[in-house]
């Protein structure tokens, strides 16, 4: 491979880093109406009356919209393939407000100042209702978060909204109870994960306008332009053909921008006024009025024999989806689907439970998508099992993990009804290498450094998927331009990951050309071929395969066109990326010359190659993560000394970009493990809504990060590649918790792992 598997610089790198105006707000012309949202101060209330009299008299106010001004068709903001599993449970504005921060009115004015002034003068009369704030008390709570009768679902997701159950799920193989009964050793633990924030640097934003054809154009910092088109069309009750969505450069997403959190508001303003409009969420709104990770409680029971052969895994889960059900059923299910297969030797496995509505900010998609939560629970339990068995936790894993060639029913079913076989895995090698890198042999379990300091190591393993099998698809189109360079049209959404670059690498590899000959365009729903968007660890695998198909199609068409120009059969033509040769005639034509002739009166032929791909399976990447921490036994303070992750993501399309994905994901995972606490007031207001209260890791908080690779070869992947974007966030929480346990004997089962919890644990032990 000449270009794939090379550390090529990101094609947009020099321009985005040096300040070129290429993000959503940079593209505004400055005369859009400023859109502001009046938000509910109550966690649960019904709006009795809204008085706009004084507010609408403020000079510059263009319109103020309330629940009486919006279509009455419920929708979901979740960016998922239609028909979405997420329930249609929201309106743009509703008579009921379901969390502190829920939208009450949309104000549009000539500038922010006028909009804010008007906002303060809106008088709202509320009937305050008793909120559901504790997700463990949601089921059967006297208050029903969604009392309205018009919530609909596209499929049976196990909703019972009278009990505040948004969705239910059960995955079961074998007889878990019987296997547990027959186990020599059983451990049980209940684990809690918090509602982590994405904290991407560019907050949510969109601008909207009518174009010269009277079509509603939305420029949005989104991961899901095609889903946004459909969501907005439904929410506004206008045909999809009247909506165009353009995605410029994105300042980070992490799954947050897989939910269309803001687009409907300026879109409605533009629809009502005919004028361009812009909404920019500040950091507070981004923290408190969009989505977060689903907070979860997972109780794990593991059964094993004395030799450490795991016989049963049982996971009972409860997920807090907040006020609306964006991604509720899918995040919930994935927490089981992408954890249970890890220990392939277990005879019986089960994962079940509910996602529940509460009067808190809705949860949604966030890197890891449930697997992060499931991994913390399962891997913590595995470490507790190892402790009970008095067995090295690495050895326990080596004994029980799924291996390449093993079949597992939870991985999926083949068309013949057989369990899917794991086609690629180097997890065993990842564990081995990780142990070497962290120095497991010398350091496990602990070293006493001084009277008050203990150093210890801990570990965890994880898997994810690569795209959503059987549902999500991606397409690519390649156009040959009249000077012999190509335009690669994509609907995937590079949010900083570098996917535009890796897709260009794949195209250049197949077309045997150089990177400078591939121009990437993404994404604009009027121009780009359909792609579900960049989420679910899909782009490298799903879009990557589509690009291979499109490039091969283009190659075939170049050869056919060459045959026509030379007047020979296609079999007599050779193409090496630069020249088209008629083998027997000793004639050749450069690609640029041929391209010019093709689009001229002589050729009358625009060459376009296309490819569409959807995965039949979702090949899992794997990671073995190892933490070394130092714990202060007097204060409970934890310092991460080193974090080692060894990754199997198949072939690395671009080793540099893969490495950064891993490092960035690990640090986001360390943040979740140790710093990123979410706190609500007693009345349900999120208190951690700025970077002052919600601490994401800074440069000093993370210790040494060591990343290495043990690639397998995924036969269905583009050049053997699997995904890497999400799997990277899953191991830090359980591995650090394990290291803390090994240091001071305290099991922290409730994230984040703070000094307070550690010192309390130490004191309780005494």
């Amino acid at each position: 491979m000449r270009i794939v598997n090379q550390p090529i610089s990101k094609i947009d790198g020099m321009d985005i880093t040096t300040g070129k105006p290429v993000y959503t707000d940079d593209l505004a012309h400055g005369h859009e109406l400023a859109v502001k949202i009046l938000r509910s101060p109550y966690a649960f209330a019904r709006i009795k009356a809204i008085n706009l009299e004084k507010a609408s008299r403020i000079p510059g106010v263009e319109c103020i919209l309330t629940y009486q001004d919006v279509p009455k068709t419920r929708f979901t903001m979740a960016g998922q393939s239609y028909p979405e599993p997420s329930p249609y449970d929201r309106l743009i504005l509703d008579e009921y407000v379901r969390y502190v921060g829920d939208e009450v009115a949309i104000i549009a004015a000539v500038d922010e100042k006028a909009a804010e002034k008007a906002m303060k003068l809106i008088k709202v009369e509320y009937e305050i209702l008793e909120p559901v704030l504790d997700f463990e008390k949601a089921i059967g709570h006297p208050s029903v978060v969604h009392p309205e009768g018009d919530v609909t679902v596209n499929m049976d997701i196990g909703m019972d909204k009278t009990k505040n159950i948004a969705s239910s799920c059960k995955i079961e193989v074998g007889d878990v109870e019987a296997e547990l009964k027959n186990s020599d050793v059983v451990v049980e633990g209940t684990y809690y994960t918090q509602a982590q924030a994405h904290a991407m640097m560019e907050t949510y934003r969109a601008l909207t306008y009518f174009d010269h054809n009277g079509r509603l154009t939305i420029v949005s910092s989104t991961q899901i332009p095609f889903h946004v088109r459909r969501i907005v069309a439904r929410a506004l009750q206008i045909p999809m053909g009247r909506v165009r969505v353009i995605k410029p450069r994105i300042g980070g997403g992490f799954g947050g921008k897989q939910t269309a959190s803001v687009e409907v508001f300026p879109a409605l303003v533009t629809l009502k006024t005919g004028k361009p409009a812009k909404i920019i969420y500040d950091r507070r709104e981004t923290f408190a009025c969009t989505t977060s990770r689903h907070a979860m409680r997972i109780t794990v029971r593991l059964g094993a024999d004395k030799e450490g052969n795991i016989k049963a895994i049982d996971m009972q889960a409860l997920s807090d989806t907040g006020a609306y059900g964006e991604h509720a059923p899918t995040v919930f299910a994935v927490a089981g689907y992408k954890t249970l297969p890890l220990y392939g030797k277990a005879r019986a496995v089960r994962y079940m439970g509910h996602a529940v509505y509460t009067n808190k900010m809705p949860a949604g998609a966030l890197r890891g998508y449930g697997v992060t939560q499931g991994t913390f629970a399962l891997e913590s339990a595995i470490n507790e099992l190892a402790a009970k068995l008095q067995m090295d936790p690495a050895e326990l894993r080596e004994k029980n993990i799924i291996r390449e060639g093993d079949a597992h029913p939870v991985l999926g079913e083949t068309p013949e009804g057989k369990p899917v076989v794991l086609a690629s895995s180097a997890l065993d090698r990842c564990i081995k290498r990780g142990k070497e890198l962290i120095g497991w042999g010398e350091k496990y379990p602990r070293k006493v450094v001084s009277d008050t300091k203990v150093r210890a190591v801990g570990m965890a393993i994880t898997m994810q998927g690569s795209g959503i099998a059987g549902i999500d698809t991606a397409s690519a189109v390649i156009k040959l331009n009249d000077d012999g360079f190509y335009t690669l049209l994509l609907g995937s959404t590079d949010m900083g990951t570098g996917s535009d670059t890796t897709m260009a690498q794949i195209a250049a590899e197949v077309l045997e050309t150089t990177m400078d000959k591939i121009i990437v365009h993404a994404a604009d729903t009027d121009i780009s071929p359909y792609d579900t968007g960049s989420y679910a660890s899909s782009t490298a695998y799903v879009t990557g395969n589509a690009v291979i198909k499109a490039a091969e199609d283009m190659k075939k068409k170049i050869i056919e066109a060459g045959a026509k120009l030379f007047g020979v059969d296609s079999e007599e033509i050779e193409f090496d990326g630069e020249f088209v040769r008629a083998i027997n005639k000793h004639q050749s034509l450069s690609l640029d010359e041929m391209a010019r002739r093709l689009i001229s009166g002589e050729g009358k032929l625009q060459l376009v190659g296309t490819g569409t791909f959807g995965g039949d399976t979702s090949p899992p990447p794997f990671i073995a993560g190892f933490a070394e921490v130092e714990v202060d036994t007097e204060t409970g303070k934890i310092d991460v000394i080193e974090y080692v992750a060894v990754v199997d993501c198949g072939t690395m399309i671009n080793p540099n970009l893969v490495r950064i994905q891993v490092e960035g994901g690990l640090v986001q995972g360390i943040g979740m493990a140790m710093y990123e606490d979410v706190k609500y007031s007693e009345r349900g207001k999120m208190q951690t809504d700025t970077f002052m209260q919600y601490k994401i890791p800074c440069r000093k908080d993370i210790g040494k990060i060591t990343v290495d690779f043990e690639p397998s070869y995924e036969p269905t992947g583009p050049f053997g590649a699997k995904s890497v974007g999400e799997v990277v966030i899953n191991t830090p929480s359980p591995a650090i918790a394990h290291a803390v346990y090994n240091a001071v004997g305290v099991n922290i089962r409730n994230l984040p792992i703070t000094p307070e919890k550690v010192i309390m644990g130490i004191m309780e032990k005494k």
């Binding site: 790198g13 040096t18 560019e202 450069r249 300042g251 900083g496 490092e663 960035g664 640090v667």
Partner: protein, 149 residues
Amino acid sequence: MQIKVTINEKMMELEAPYDEFLMDTLRRYGFLSVKKGCNTGSCGLCTVWLDGKPVLSCSVLSVRVNGRNITTIEGVQKEAREFADFLVKEGADQCGFCSPGFIMTVLAMKRELSNPTEEDIIHYLTGNLCRCTGYQGQLRAIKKYLGVV
């Protein structure tokens, strides 16, 4: 209010309301490299130089820069691109949204510190948050750029 400032070595007269922060004024006048990441002076994205020293432009009132010198990344493109080349070669550019502020801090650090250690570098840049890279690639780029072993 009217203020007179030198921005990227050009004298300019700007209109800025008394309560406007420099970051908003700069964006209003087309210096779109300046990004806002928080509202609390926590993230470092809006870093520009005031009389050659890095400041958070979201926390400086525009009226207070009357008569002073402002530098944004638009004004130091050659130097910024030299460093950006190292950053991009590590793959540590990622979403790029924090990069202009980050690069302005790196270039200021280069002027301010001689032979910084790894610890010095991390300390100087602590106020510049990044959610994409995990900071390691940025550090590798800086060390190569400064020739720090």
